[in-house]
Symmetry: C2
Subunit: 324 residues, 2 copies
């Protein structure tokens, strides 16, 4: 498959990221579950990024970005706007390097997410809950502190860091037919696609996203970045509510083989399946990849050995009854 964006990260960037982050992050295990195999009618290998540091794959990209900085630049710290796993991951990675992490969070962010960032040593900067205010506050904090902005996904260091998931998985499970990857901003699937198509191009890379926020599937069809049609908060998969970015979209357009969209009922069913049968705590975004296995379009591929990235495990247990 041709890759038209010659400026995109390469397999060498991913290998460099793997060496850079190896002292800090987990080589996450790959687990199997007989019941999930039965449901999918295939051999399913679960790449457990829910067991990653900070409970999500975001630790990889954040660590790669933080440790890519030169010493002098790094000393001023890093800055991002996020209320999700990237915020925790950046705070955690910055602490590993001993530099400050400035996290811009909307005033309406859940207290539990704010506390998680504080627990990892991040410095929280409040802002009004609009994208404009988040970006403006982020720029202001960066200007005031001299900190380097590390975006959650639309960044080559992040893409390369997330690509290390595939580097590991290909070494852990030989002869996969496909890898299923949940798609939010696209940093994870872009990194995985670059890695897979460089090393084992026969393996299909399949995106999975909620029907209610199907911007990636529509972007891939239309050939340009599409925004959400409806309210992104309508899906329980809160990690996948973002749209693709300028750096992630071209890679996805050129290297991803298919994007499957799944209804909410199936995401809920998959969340229950993984927790009840695989005994793993995952967040709803991770259930989206499992839900895709049950999609007719996906089944038509006839894959026999499939890797699925369980991207995160940061589930609010007290909210679980409303998610099942």
């Amino acid at each position: 498959m041709a890759h038209r964006d010659s400026n995109a990260p390469t397999i060498e960037d991913i290998r460099a990221a793997a060496r850079r982050i190896e002292p800090y992050v987990h080589r996450t295990p790959v687990l199997t579950c007989g019941r999930i195999d039965d449901v999918a009618d295939a051999e399913i290998h679960l790449k457990c990024e829910n067991l990653q540091k900070v409970g999500a794959f975001k630790a990889r990209g954040a660590t790669n970005a933080v440790f890519s900085l030169g010493d002098e630049v790094a000393a001023s710290g890093v800055v991002t706007h996020s209320s999700g796993n990237h915020a925790q991951a950046l705070a955690w990675a910055a602490k590993r390097r001993g530099i400050p992490a400035h996290i811009v969070m909307p005033t309406n962010a859940p207290v539990v997410k704010r506390n998680a960032v504080l627990e990892y040593g991040g410095i929280v900067h409040d802002c009004e809950p609009t994208l404009e205010q988040r970006l403006a506050t982020c720029e202001r904090v960066a200007a005031e502190t001299g900190g380097s902005i590390v975006p959650p996904y639309d960044d080559d260091r992040i893409i390369a860091g997330q690509g290390t998931i595939a580097l590991e998985l290909l070494g852990q499970v030989p002869d996969l037919d496909a890898i299923v990857v949940p798609v939010g901003g696209g940093g994870m699937i872009a990194g995985i696609a670059i890695c897979v198509k460089a090393i084992a191009p026969g393996i299909k890379v399949i995106g999975a996203e909620p029907e209610l926020v199907d911007d990636a599937a529509r972007s891939r069809r239309s050939g340009r970045i599409e925004s959400h049609r409806g309210d992104p908060t309508s899906t329980i998969a809160d990690g996948l509510r973002t749209t693709l970015g300028e750096r992630t979209f071209p890679v996805i357009r050129d290297l991803v083989d298919d994007i499957v969209t799944v209804p909410e009922t199936r995401i809920r069913k998959a969340l229950r399946l993984v927790m009840e049968r695989a005994k793993l705590v995952i967040e709803p975004s991770a259930a989206v990849g499992i839900a895709a296995l049950d999609d007719d379009g996906f089944r038509r591929h006839g894959f026999q050995r499939v890797g699925v990235v369980l991207c995160g495990g940061n589930l609010d247990l007290d909210a679980l009854p409303s998610l099942l």
Copy 2:
């Protein structure tokens, strides 16, 4: 430490069990969690029997018992009375061997447990919910079918099977100071103690049980099998509500180094800790081992590297809010 019961299973029985069950059960992973290390102020290694077949260590003993039978005896099947993990494990193991499993269950057993046994191919026999009726029905079914009774814990084949947990763990993590094991009927801790004291006698074997069903701690002190003082259903750790048996007690008396009892509030806290931070689904009985790490008596040992057996993951998700 002297072992006075010369008829108890030996390390050779455990090695034989390991060879016998190896084609069927998982070599479960050992995982770590930084947050649990922080709470325990020690390096904690989680032996994930919640990721075992049928979601609990019981698959080991049941498989060992089922595959210990001669072909002619096995053909008549196996019989037990249980409404818990042993019932599922025996049904599952019997199916692996292609023989019938007769499971005597009280009429008030939860539908979800009944269905789990049926799903694994077990034949359910109803009985009145008294111990007398359970035993009588079990004997009757065994007489009618010619099936072999396989008790849930007070059986040398079961003890040897559960001992394989330690055989694996000692190979996976060198230089442990102690292994913490939840205690119900005592099959698991007896098997583990036999294995540890034969191979690495310097490693302490510590039992953990709910304060509300502290029969094992009292039995160890008094030198004879004690029954429950109160209502065993008062603890959320439903897998630990049984008392020790004739086969398990002498081993525990002679080989177990300490038994720690933990209050319900700490079991609930540990359940939340493991699910929220280690991202593993466990049942309340498995949380008892984690809760023990926070006990003053346990801390006084000063262990630096501790293995904890997460014995099972068969949690009713819909009941979770009442358990946290």
